[in-house]
């Protein structure tokens, strides 16, 4: 693994939000979010409707902020995996190749990289199966392979295991862990607190569109700083 400056001693931010806001119909979906992402693996937590997914979409560029700025010290190539995998009506392999073609690789390289990505997610045997007929877990792994093959520097995941069974969830977590181990920055949301503990270095907790706290993962779960986070953890842990 390459020792990037991010992993050494004092961490510098790979992304800073400067009072980032998104307003819609008079409500603040994301309200003046100001924070710096320094950890390689960040999990955004918060109740339903807190603005987690919206924040991810603003960062990925799918949504345009009403006001405020995203400050990238150096631009990172990104890929995003959504809660529900979206597959084209073609084979699993061709779905991955499609994502690579859009990056401008030639046909041979697309195929090689797509096959390698499928192998990494353990789906080589189903390469030529129609993607939309795969199980939900398999489709999500194809989606991860499609993202991974593009070799992003930042991988954004919006509740990637929300609709998966425990076995698929474990497999998806393994894959995400491997992607992160190769040095890719991770930014994800989840409602699975165990998953947040396993995946995160840092937790960003948001509520009603506002950044409530940003703390290292152990600290967040043991001694949450804010009352909102304490309430959230008390309600969610069975």
């Amino acid at each position: 693994m390459n020792a990037s400056p991010m992993n050494a001693g004092v961490k510098s931010a790979w992304l800073s939000l400067d009072s980032l806001s998104l307003h819609s119909a008079g409500t603040h979906i994301v309200d003046a979010a100001t924070l710096s992402f320094t950890a390689q693996r960040t999990v955004v937590l918060g109740p339903n409707g807190a603005g987690k997914s919206t924040l991810l979409r603003l960062i990925h560029g799918l949504l345009r902020p009403t006001s405020g700025n995203l400050i990238w010290p150096r631009p990172l190539t990104q890929a995003m995996v959504f809660q529900r995998p979206v597959m084209l009506r073609t084979t699993a392999l061709e779905n991955i190749i499609y994502g690579l073609r859009l990056q401008g690789h030639n046909a041979t390289e697309c195929r090689t990289r797509a096959l390698a990505a499928l192998e990494k997610v353990g789906l080589t045997p189903i390469a030529n199966r129609p993607a939309r007929l795969l199980s939900g877990g398999e489709q999500q792994r194809v989606a991860l392979a499609r993202a991974w093959a593009r070799e992003p520097q930042l991988l954004i995941l919006d509740e990637p295991t929300a609709s998966l069974d425990p076995a698929s969830t474990r497999e998806v977590e393994r894959i995400i862990g491997e992607i992160a181990a190769a040095g890719t920055h991770l930014l994800m949301t989840t409602h699975n607190l165990g998953q947040a503990r396993r995946m995160a270095e840092q937790i960003v907790f948001i509520d009603h569109g506002r950044i409530v706290e940003q703390t290292p993962v152990e600290q967040f779960f043991n001694t949450p700083q804010t009352e909102a986070a304490q309430r959230f953890l008390k309600e969610e842990i069975p």
């Binding site: 979409r57 990925h60 799918l62 890929a79 995003m80 959504f82 979206v86 597959m87 084209l88 009506r89 073609t90 499609y98 994502g99 859009l102 990056q103 129609p130 993607a131 939309r132 007929l133 499609r146």
Partner: protein, 245 residues
Amino acid sequence: MWIQYRNNLILLTDFHDSFLTAWHLVAAADARLFGVVLLSLQVSLSATIIACLVGMPIGALLAVGRFPGRRLLVVLFNGLMGLPPVVVGLMVYLLLSRAGPLGTFGLLFSPAAMVIAQAVLVTPIVAALTRQTVADAWTEFSEQLRSLGASRTRAAATLLWDGRFSLTTAALAGFGRAIAEVGAVMIVGGNIDGVTRVMTTTIALETSKGDLPLALGLGLVLIAVVLAVNAAAYQLRQWAQRHWG
């Protein structure tokens, strides 16, 4: 029992005989009937293919594109679905007539003129139905395709390919309209025997002449063709649903 039709008295039992004769004409693949059916298929299939080549990209771009006047164009194409065939026929007639802007090509009263007229008639139908299909797909694919960096044009092309099986419905609606219309081909084709006479114009003509067997025979063939094409498309969509999801 006698009924009056166009100053001719026709015995109602004639209808029974007409059906029988019509059936014999169809069964024997009567040369006259065969030629008419073939020309009908050639003209309407060509028109449908042209309409798909033009209308489907337009529909897809109307669904995913972002450009000024998009909404206006959507309303326009939806409205043009109801174009009266005779009006289209008249417009194409004016364009192709000797004095018209395209008169030098001498296309009037030829099958080519009929293809043009039907293509004009059917393109808005294909475009409007394609737009609807692609717009539905866009709600599912929009974020994923934009995330992968697809331009709007690329996304339109991708969704056309992805929706290739459901889009048969749009093509079929166009073909159904083309093969069933009389007004446009009558005006620009002229209903010339052996040259521009198609099923619908022959039915209209033979009925008015009182040759009911041929008209009925063609009517049966017309219905059979439309049903067969729809059945084939239905089978294709079923297979695609099972095979690709």
